[in-house]
């Protein structure tokens, strides 16, 4: 914590002095000129003369020390204890779409457990011909698939319902990651246990091996359609904090359903109505009634830079506005960006063809001359859904929903390049 704080304040100071220094050099029109030769170029530097690290210096590498502030962060006042808590992906500092596992957010209900492949068992029971037990080695022998999917916690942006609160994209939108999973379709495993073939009215209850025994009921149709038992993420074994050695993947649906350390799947005639699908992950409306089974994550986007943790530190001229968009209904088709708080919009460039239920990166390559911006982004998906404003959401749901806040976010970029989380009319 202490080092995090130091790193953050150092970067703030750096920003203030750095912006002034660089700004002076580049404001002039045309090609900038240096007053004196750059010693980094004219003098032989240590790294250009001596050795760097040999191979094997770091058998499994971590990011270079200069990037040590690109880390997950926790908001301490949110929860009573880190054992049952959440932290946030540093989305402000990332680019592209794949989230490195080491900084992908964590959410545990009873801590991240150490469960070895040798000790791992997956049971399938309930309405099947034969209740079965699979070892991890068994799982590796089933045909498997690769898919990239986003995982968003239903509570992402949840602290912003009542107003602009946390000053940084990491904190407002960082309960999300996007990984490439290698896993076995759930339908393959259910078939192996002799599932009857009956779908209507059937549910699959899935639970984890940790002490929280987190379990969720999933309509069997969804489980058969695209759910996976993932054994790898981004090419390597799942990290402990993401459910090593196996987790459930529920594409497009809220993160709590992606049961980690998955140990049992049971075909049932109805939902269990477990704690996490009744007392939590239900959305209370203004009149006090609550929505349940709100599983799909609707289309959403956020500008990750500039943003409060990513101020503009260079002078006027070219600037890249970037962010990410996603939809639990399928593919994002378009992202628009507004610099004036939603009066006018321009369509951003998508970095690659959008994939199904996966993050897409967008860019708006533009110019900045020190004017203030009220930066917003707005995603559309293939169902024609347009990401709503906070006012639109509140109109329907009130202020107490907590979950599924997919509103348009506003960053106020000031003339000095700093940015702040604000709400606008």
């Amino acid at each position: 914590m202490a080092t995090e704080k130091k790193a953050a304040s150092a970067s703030r100071r750096q920003f203030l002095t750095g912006a002034a220094a660089v700004g002076a050099g580049t404001v002039a029109a045309g090609v900038a000129r240096a007053a004196e030769p750059d010693p980094l170029i004219t003098e032989v530097q240590g790294w250009a003369s001596g050795f760097g690290d040999g191979v094997d210096a770091t058998p499994y590498g971590l990011p270079i020390k200069f990037e040590d502030d690109v880390v997950r962060r926790n908001v301490e006042w949110l929860t009573a204890d880190t054992i049952s808590s959440i932290n946030f992906t540093p989305i402000h500092a990332l680019d592209g779409t794949i989230t490195p596992a080491g900084c992908a957010f964590e959410r545990h209900h009873s801590g991240a457990i150490e469960l070895s492949k040798e000790d791992y068992r997956l049971m399938i029971n309930g309405d099947v011909e034969t209740p079965m037990v699979f070892s991890y080695a068994d799982l590796e022998r089933f045909p498997r698939e690769n898919h990239v999917y986003f995982l968003e916690c239903a509570a992402n942006t949840g602290m912003e319902w009542a107003g602009a609160q946390l000053n940084g994209a990491q904190f407002t939108h960082g309960m999300i990651h996007n990984m490439e999973y290698s896993g076995i379709p759930v339908r393959t495993l259910l078939a192996e246990a002799g599932w009857s073939g009956e779908v209507e009215g059937k549910w699959l209850y899935v639970e984890g091996a940790d002490a929280s025994s987190n379990g969720r009921s999933i309509p069997l149709e969804k489980a058969l359609d695209d759910c996976l038992i993932a054994i790898k993420a981004n090419g390597e074994a799942l990290r402990k904090e993401h459910g090593y050695p196996a987790r459930l993947v529920v594409p497009g649906w809220e993160g709590n359903m992606w049961v980690k350390w998955v140990r049992r799947m049971e075909i049932m005639d109805g939902p269990v109505e477990s704690r996490e699908e009744t007392s939590k992950y239900t959305d209370t409306l203004a009149d006090g009634t609550s929505r349940k089974w709100t599983w799909v994550m609707d289309a959403k986007s956020v500008v990750t830079s500039p943003s409060p943790q990513m101020p503009i530190t260079h002078g006027h001229g070219p600037v890249v506005i970037t962010g990410m968009a996603w939809s639990g209904h399928g593919k994002v088709t378009r992202v628009d960006v507004s610099k004036d708080g939603g009066k006018t919009w321009e369509t951003a460039r998508l970095a690659a063809d959008p994939a199904n239920k996966a993050l897409v990166r967008f860019y708006l390559d533009t110019e900045w001359s020190g004017e203030e911006w009220l930066l917003q982004s707005r995603a559309m998906d293939e169902t024609g859904y347009v990401q709503p404003t906070k006012a639109q959401l509140r109109e329907v749901r009130g202020l107490n929903s907590i979950y599924h806040n997919n509103c348009i976010q506003t960053w106020w970029v000031k003339s000095n390049g700093e940015a702040e989380n604000v709400e606008v009319s």
Binding site: M1, A193, E200, W293, D298, Q387
Partner: protein, 410 residues
């Protein structure tokens, strides 16, 4: 069957079990969103995927092949033994399916709750610090700040039983007997004024009990209330006349990286409770910084009294019961209880920024073996008035072990 149908009528989730349903679903789109033909064309292609034609083709073959010995298409895995299924299949459904035989009354529940739950949830289930409140909040769900508790919010009693049985107590899950869980559940109902003090809950009367907010839930209706409004071509120019900033995050500055000093001065009074917590966090953080910076200088091993590693390892297991409230090790902070680095041999009530009970604050002496055995064996007997709502470690060897474990943190 009917549940499933309602479900899919009510949500726009695109996975459909049968063609009939899929057609219904597509029809709904045609009716609701005729202005967007591009979208409609795209939808059926991705969403209408009858299960019987699942891409791998594995499904049908397996379903029939499995009628033999449970060895499906691949012949992998093995049949689960009945004892194994019984050990893991513990979930309890709203109609009581899955409940074991047993019973427990309110008064037994009070004792069990005090020993196992009150440390976090309070003696009357009213919650301690940021831990969940289990009682109260009746009639607040439509308020500005609803209090969602078992009594005011949870729709099914089965959820309480199932959760307590499988997931509680925090840090020592699956340690309660069925009768204890019935008793705790009865006590939670009593704390919410839902039963009288002579109430006994059992598998026989469980299903009769209806929770007050059972009818307070509706199935996801976003398809009707939201998608129908927001699937429309968006405005690109002159979308509004003026834009004003109506709220700023730096006014209510609760963002961790900024520390607390500059922020809390400006904070508005309207979010009192939250601010109090933030100030606490900020105060802890400030204290932590110098401590962490000084640490390397002091890190030289001053004393290496022989530690019984095996005993300490046992103690680490015992310490799980303490972890919900006490931290040890690098970066340990005060939580519900004080951090315990160096507690063995230290003066009683010595952590400066922890608010001890009057009893401990005025007790004097040091935490030597005798004092630790006395206190940990019977906290409230040894120090009447202590805030530590822990029943105590019954076995002396557990205390020996946990003390040995604590010695490893200087």
């Amino acid at each position: 069957m009917s549940k499933s149908l309602k479900l899919y009528a009510g949500t726009a989730i695109g996975i459909l079990g049968t063609l009939t349903l899929a057609v219904n679903f597509a029809d709904r789109f045609v009716a609701d969103f005729p202005e967007n033909p591009r979208t409609m064309a795209a939808l059926p292609a991705t969403q209408v995927e009858p299960v019987a034609e699942a891409p791998s083709g594995v499904l049908i073959g397996a379903a029939t092949a499995a009628t033999t010995d449970g060895g499906g298409t691949f012949g992998l895995g093995r049949a689960a033994l009945p004892e194994e299924v019984a050990a893991w299949d513990l979930d309890v459904s709203p109609d009581g399916t899955g409940l074991p035989a047993g019973s427990g009354d309110v008064w037994t529940g009070e004792t069990v709750f005090e020993e196992n739950c009150a440390v976090c949830h309070g003696s009357f289930a009213e919650g301690v610090d940021n831990w969940p409140k289990l009682a109260g909040g009746d009639g607040t769900l439509a308020d500005e700040d609803p209090l969602k508790t078992v009594g005011s919010y949870w729709p099914y009693l089965s959820t309480v039983w199932d959760y307590v049985h499988r997931s509680m107590p925090f840090g020592n899950a699956q340690s309660l007997s069925a009768d204890e869980v019935y008793a705790i559940t009865a006590y939670i109902l009593y704390s919410n004024d839902l039963v009288d003090d002579d109430f006994e809950l059992s598998d026989a009367n469980f299903a009769e009990f209806e929770m007050p907010n059972a009818d307070g839930f509706i199935i996801d209706d976003r398809a009707e209330t939201e998608y129908s409004l927001w699937r429309a071509e968006p405005c690109m120019e002159n979308c509004k006349e003026s834009v004003e900033i109506t709220m700023r995050a730096t006014v209510l500055d609760v963002t961790p990286d900024h520390g607390g000093t500059e922020a809390t001065e400006e904070a508005e009074a309207s979010t009192g409770e939250q601010e109090a917590e933030v100030e606490e966090v900020a105060a802890v953080a400030e204290e932590a910084v110098p401590a962490a910076e000084e640490a390397p200088a002091e890190a030289a091993p001053v004393e290496t009294a022989a530690i019984d590693a095996a005993l300490a390892a046992e103690g680490e297991k015992v310490f799980r019961k303490c972890k919900a409230c006490h931290q040890v090790g690098e970066g340990a902070k005060n939580r519900t209880g004080p951090e315990l680095n160096g507690v063995v041999g230290r003066e009683i009530a010595a952590v400066g920024d922890f608010k001890y009970s009057k009893t401990l604050a005025e007790m004097g002496g040091v935490w030597d073996s005798e004092a630790l055995h006395g206190f940990l064996g019977d906290p409230r007997g040894y120090a009447k008035g202590t805030k530590m709502a822990f029943a105590g470690l019954k076995k002396a060897e557990d205390i020996d072990a946990v003390v040995e474990y604590l010695k490893t943190f200087e």
